[in-house]
């Protein structure tokens, strides 16, 4: 059975070139870069080279790059590290559609006595910048707003937001885990102070992340231990994975155009095809300001997990915002924040493509998904009621 992997916002396959680049560091080149001997030197040299490639990918200076274990650690470090550096301020501004790495942390901070303002989004998943302006106070320690949403792909106007935040002299962090490699980012021309991203969304392995910290930004280390990363993040550097990430960043820069053209047109073909072939289908999120690879669709009157399992049996890998798949009993907090009705939220499916997808993948999905929805609608009590009701009109 052929694998049609269209769940790249969840994780991506490791690029063969990345794996090749990593191998020597899992074999003979095993030194600790802090060591004084030649084996340490080998590791140190590889790390310096990788750091340059990573910095280039986001237009940063190499010494502004801190390696972490994952996107979640980068987010936690940025937020907690900033709060610790400004202990007199107890207010944080974020949004209702952040990834759990930020969202759950904010809820935790509230329990600890911080005041957190979660900006709302409209039905298209867009922010209201006036709400942001009104939310910022003299007690605001940090504004943290994601660059692009993992569920809907909606892109926030980060530079506009940054202008507002910086004009009040407040540190600005963005979770760019879904954006890096898909849209161009340049920290030299940006208002962002801190930016998180993660290896496994970029065809590097899971277990490596980055926190970009603009020079001059106050930051208290989150992981405290040795002097690594210039005292900003303790722990022996994960050399094989850092090298892998460096290679992945190099490839991402090369593939950015392909991602934004060919992959975008595949996504558009999939979206249009589904809307055309399956009745009562909606697209969730702003279709204009969106990542080129993502589409979130809702199929009314059927439930997400059932759709995913049937797709999985055919080799198609996607994900959903339904309650059954969210890990809790409520549908995704992102779709709820957008005011998507429950009828649609439970039946939502997210497709997220990558440069490794081809046109025949899309054609196959367009062929296989309509019968699945039809079948599940036959089993659903609501579909027949809906048909009966609409035929009476």
């Amino acid at each position: 059975m052929k694998t049609i992997y269209v769940d790249n916002n969840a994780t991506t396959q490791v690029a063969p070139e990345v794996f090749e680049a990593m191998k020597p560091f899992l074999q003979d080149l095993y030194g600790n870069p802090s060591s004084m001997h030649f084996k340490g030197g080998e590791a140190q040299k590889a790390m310096v080279e990788a750091r340059e490639k990573v910095a280039d990918a986001v237009g940063a200076n190499p010494d502004e790059i801190v390696f972490t274990s994952c996107g979640t650690e980068s987010d936690n470090a940025a937020i907690v590290g900033t709060l610790e550096s400004h202990p007199e301020k107890r207010h944080v501004v974020s949004t209702r559609v952040e990834h759990p790495a930020v969202w759950t942390l904010c809820k935790h901070l509230e329990k600890k006595g911080y005041r957190v303002t979660m900006l709302s989004v409209d039905r298209e998943g867009r922010l209201d910048l006036d709400e942001l302006r009104a939310a910022i106070s003299d007690n605001t320690a940090l504004v943290t707003i994601m660059c692009a949403n993992n569920e809907t792909g909606v892109i926030f106007p980060i530079e506009e937001i940054g202008q507002i935040v910086k004009s009040r002299g407040i540190p600005f962090h963005t979770d760019a885990v879904q954006a890096v490699g898909k849209i161009p980012l340049n920290m030299k021309k940006s208002t962002v102070d801190m930016l998180s991203f993660s290896g496994h969304k970029l065809h590097a392995p899971k277990g490596i992340g980055v926190l970009y910290i603009r020079k001059g930004t106050k930051f208290s280390p989150f992981l405290i231990g040795g002097h690594q990363e210039r005292g900003r993040r303790g722990g022996t550097e994960n050399i094989p994975y850092i090298v892998g990430l460096g290679k992945a960043c190099e490839l991402a820069a090369r593939h950015l155009e392909d991602e934004n053209n060919r992959v975008r047109s595949l996504r558009d073909k999939l979206e249009e095809g589904l809307l055309e072939r399956i009745p009562d289908t909606l697209v969730n999120g702003d279709r204009e300001h969106r990542l080129p690879n993502t589409v979130s669709v809702s199929f009314e009157y059927v439930e997400g997990e059932s759709i995913l399992l049937m797709l999985s049996n055919l080799g198609i890998c996607a994900s959903s915002g339904s309650a059954c798949t969210s890990g809790s009993l409520e549908p995704s907090h992102v779709l709820r924040a957008m005011g998507i009705p429950f009828t649609a939220a439970h039946g939502s499916i997210r497709f997220s493509l990558s440069i490794y997808n081809a046109e025949e993948d899309i054609d196959y999905i367009l062929e296989q998904l309509p019968p699945i929805i039809e079948r599940l609608r036959e089993i659903s009590p609501f579909w027949r009621d809906y048909i009966k009701a609409s035929s009476r009109k």
């Binding site: 329990k111 439930e303 049996n313 036959e378 009590p381 609501f382």
Partner: protein, 280 residues
């Protein structure tokens, strides 16, 4: 990724008895689009009043569809008296087991059957008689109590897995806990120490333990219902030093709460000379 048995997968991919009987003898519908789970069950009886034909329609995940399919197979040929003895555990066992978090799908099956049987008998399942404990999912105390008894549940988390109650805003957790305790008896919940009779003096250790226990059992749950919380910082003799957390930390009534509620409760349960102060 749920660990589904082969039988669950089979009943999901090849569900038996999908449909709706037009002039059914029994009609039961539970759940809703909002809940993410719904089941409509219809049956027809033969001359011997046994279930001759039964059909289902389900909106829900693989567990929901599989549970519905299994249930229809289990009730065929049974009298209503026999059918209504089927528990949600029976449905789960028929399928070779369901993941804990999906047990509420089997409970939904049993509820739809109960509703269908009640409709045949002309009874109405009066939800208004019972108290809705979980407002997010509309679950009553009767349903929670039944699930607790039939499945030997002891924690709020288990109740959530089996009924969904408490899986939304979580503000009903203390009430769910109260129902669990009611079912299994209050033994574990009696305080270890009691306020001494007049004239008796508490030792330091006794006083500190009693203060901690009173905070945990009596005071914190009430604050948490409003999103607030309290952290015990220190105890110096009869002076209790606390820090306000959550919504309490910026609530204008915090002082009032501290004196009229927290201090009063501690004086009631521990000693008359307790005073409460906030750590700056």
């Amino acid at each position: 990724m749920w660990d589904y048995t082969e039988k669950v997968k089979d009943h999901f991919m090849n569900p038996r008895n999908v449909g709706e009987i037009e002039d059914a003898d029994g009609f039961g519908e539970v759940g809703s689009l909002a809940c993410g789970d719904a089941l409509r069950l219809t049956f027809k009886l033969d001359e011997d009043r046994r279930i001759k034909d039964v059909k289902f329609k389900t909106f829900g995940c693989a567990s929901a569809i599989a549970s519905s399919s299994a249930l229809t197979e289990m009730v065929k040929g049974k009298t209503l008296e026999e059918a209504e003895k089927i528990t949600n555990r029976d449905i789960a066992d028929y399928l070779g087991g369901l993941p804990e978090e999906k047990m509420h799908c089997s409970v939904m099956g049993r509820e739809a059957l109960a509703a269908a049987i009640a409709s045949y008998r002309g009874e109405r399942v009066e939800k208004e008689e019972f108290e809705v404990i979980c407002k997010c999912f509309g679950i009553t105390d009767k349903e929670i109590e039944r699930a607790v008894k039939e499945n030997n549940l002891h924690t709020v988390e288990q109740v959530t897995h089996y009924t969904k109650a408490g899986g939304g805003c979580e503000s009903c957790h203390p009430k769910i806990e109260a129902i669990i305790n009611k079912v299994w008896g209050e033994k574990e919940r009696k305080p270890v120490l009691v306020k001494p009779a007049k004239g008796e003096k508490l030792t330091n250790i006794q006083r500190m333990r009693l203060i901690e226990e009173t905070l945990e059992r009596e005071i914190k749950p009430a604050l948490r219902q409003d999103g607030g919380d309290l952290e015990l910082i220190d105890i110096e003799g009869s002076k209790v030093l606390v820090a306000l957390r959550g919504t309490c930390s910026f609530c204008p009534s915090a002082d009032f709460t501290l004196k009229q509620y927290v201090e009063a409760k501690l004086r009631e349960f521990v000693a008359d000379d307790i005073s409460v102060e906030v750590k700056e």
